[in-house]
């Protein structure tokens, strides 16, 4: 008869029956066998598996000491040499979700142990580890404990027995954003037409790739008096001083440059160039004002149309930029502009 799958259960101080919030700062410890919901886990594992130990850690302790807690949990885990680690489920509890995610990531990376956790899709822990960790989708509260744990066990066994893991929707875990190629019986063109016809008829259809969702931002209040305003120029066309002294990337930018426009009536090609890899920069390199309109902005400053041109240009490269990086660059620039009390911005893009 096959050996039982040896499972370690990771839970927090509450499920570990140590206490509530007041005990959320306890350091991790290990106990033989199942505790609390671990009893349900033992039941679900049946003859195929056993809970050899439970590791309990306070949610706050983990969140405040991530690196230390990870080391300590690793030391508690390793000697058992488990076949599988099940963490949580954490439902919508943020610190708990983060801890579960980190423990799973850690066990897989450092010890090569298969892991499964469970979280409500909005749990902050999801985004931190969804790529690396199998997260069973759960409801938002422990009312769904049985269902969540059953799915975790089912997926856990598949991993432990090295079976093929199917599509997220089928197995019940949150899509990890990993694209795996499979061969379809129909051509893409046939699938596309079928989907389009279904869509036109109002029948259900599904995208093969989920389009990204972009949030709406409330429009900022308008400038009341342009003639007294400070206008800043920002560009994602990769315009930098010649030689690119700060080595702004030509694609997949992670940074932006800040360059002084003081004393300049226009941008000249001797001093500026574009290092953007995503478009033909010939025209811009002949005349950088075609990308960043310093010349006309200065004129309008002198004419009193605007109060002043903000003395700094903010520049980055907008090609193949990771959405997360563009958001971060945007937030940093926005913060700087806010501190400088800029009234409005012209952003030029290629």
């Amino acid at each position: 008869m096959a050996q039982k799958v040896r499972v370690i259960h990771y839970i927090n101080q509450f499920f570990g029956q140590v206490g509530g919030e007041e005990k959320a700062d306890i350091a991790p410890f290990s106990k033989e066998g199942p505790i609390g919901p671990g009893m349900l886990l033992r039941h679900l594992l049946g003859e195929k598996g056993e809970v050899i130990a439970t590791i309990v850690c306070g949610d706050t302790y983990f969140a405040n000491n991530i690196e230390k807690a990870k080391k300590e949990v690793l030391q508690l885990l390793a000697p058992h040499k488990p076949d599988l680690i099940l963490a949580g489920p954490a439902f919508n509890a943020g610190r708990y979700g983060i801890a579960c995610g980190e423990v799973c990531k850690l066990a897989k990376e450092e010890l090569g142990i298969e892991t499964v956790t469970g979280m409500y899709p909005e749990n902050p822990g999801v985004e931190l580890c969804r790529r690396e960790v199998y997260i069973i989708e759960t409801g938002s509260s422990a009312r769904n404990m049985t269902e969540a744990m059953a799915k975790m066990v089912q997926l856990g066994f598949k991993l432990a027995f090295k079976e093929t893991i199917g599509q997220p929707q089928k197995e019940g875990f949150l899509p990890r954003g990993i694209r795996r190629n499979t061969i379809s019986e129909d051509f893409g063109s046939e699938r596309a037409i079928r989907a389009l016809l279904a869509k036109i008829k109002g029948e259900p259809f599904s995208n093969e790739i989920k389009p990204p969702l972009f949030d709406q931002v409330r429009p900022a209040p308008p400038i009341k008096d342009l003639s007294h305003s400070i206008i800043a120029l920002v560009t994602e066309g990769g315009l930098v001083p010649k030689g690119n002294p700060d080595h702004i990337e030509s694609a997949r930018a992670t940074r932006y440059g800040v360059y002084s426009l003081e004393g300049l009536d226009r941008l000249d090609k001797e001093r500026f160039e574009s290092i953007h890899m995503g478009y033909d920069t010939t025209f811009v390199n002949e005349d950088p004002n075609r990308l960043v309109p310093v010349d006309v902005m200065r004129e309008m400053e002198q004419e009193g149309v605007i109060g002043a041109l903000h003395p700094y240009l903010y520049t980055t490269t907008g090609v193949a930029t990771f959405v997360e990086n563009s958001k971060k660059i945007g937030r940093d620039i926005a913060k700087t502009l806010k501190e400088a009390e800029v009234s409005g911005v012209i952003l030029t893009s290629t």
């Binding site: 900022a220 342009l226 075609r290 309109p293 913060k335 409005g344 012209i346 030029t348 893009s349």
Partner: protein
């Protein structure tokens, strides 16, 4: 993305790009039609004087958008796709 992050802190920002459909898809609030992908505020086909004049017209229209109250969900776009300069 940059336009939205700047608007998010309360500073009106107008995006000048030739790819206005992409800007709309991303949810930029204030969009002005750029002249070309490789030259959003330039027109290499025109003479230098004409080019500068058209740049000024476009930037003026863009600045105008900064002074307008934008209702959520309604995206005004200035400029037109046909640039006769």
């Amino acid at each position: 993305m940059l336009e939205k992050e700047i608007e998010r802190v309360g500073i009106p920002a107008v995006l000048i790009t030739a790819l206005t459909p992409v800007a709309k898809m991303f949810g930029a609030n204030r969009i002005a039609q750029g002249i070309g992908i490789t030259n959003p505020v330039g027109n290499p086909k025109a003479s230098p004087d004409e080019e500068k004049a058209s740049r000024k017209r476009l930037v003026t229209a863009a600045l105008q958008l900064l002074t307008e109250k934008i209702e959520e969900g309604i995206l005004p776009t200035v400029g037109s796709n046909k640039i006769d300069l």
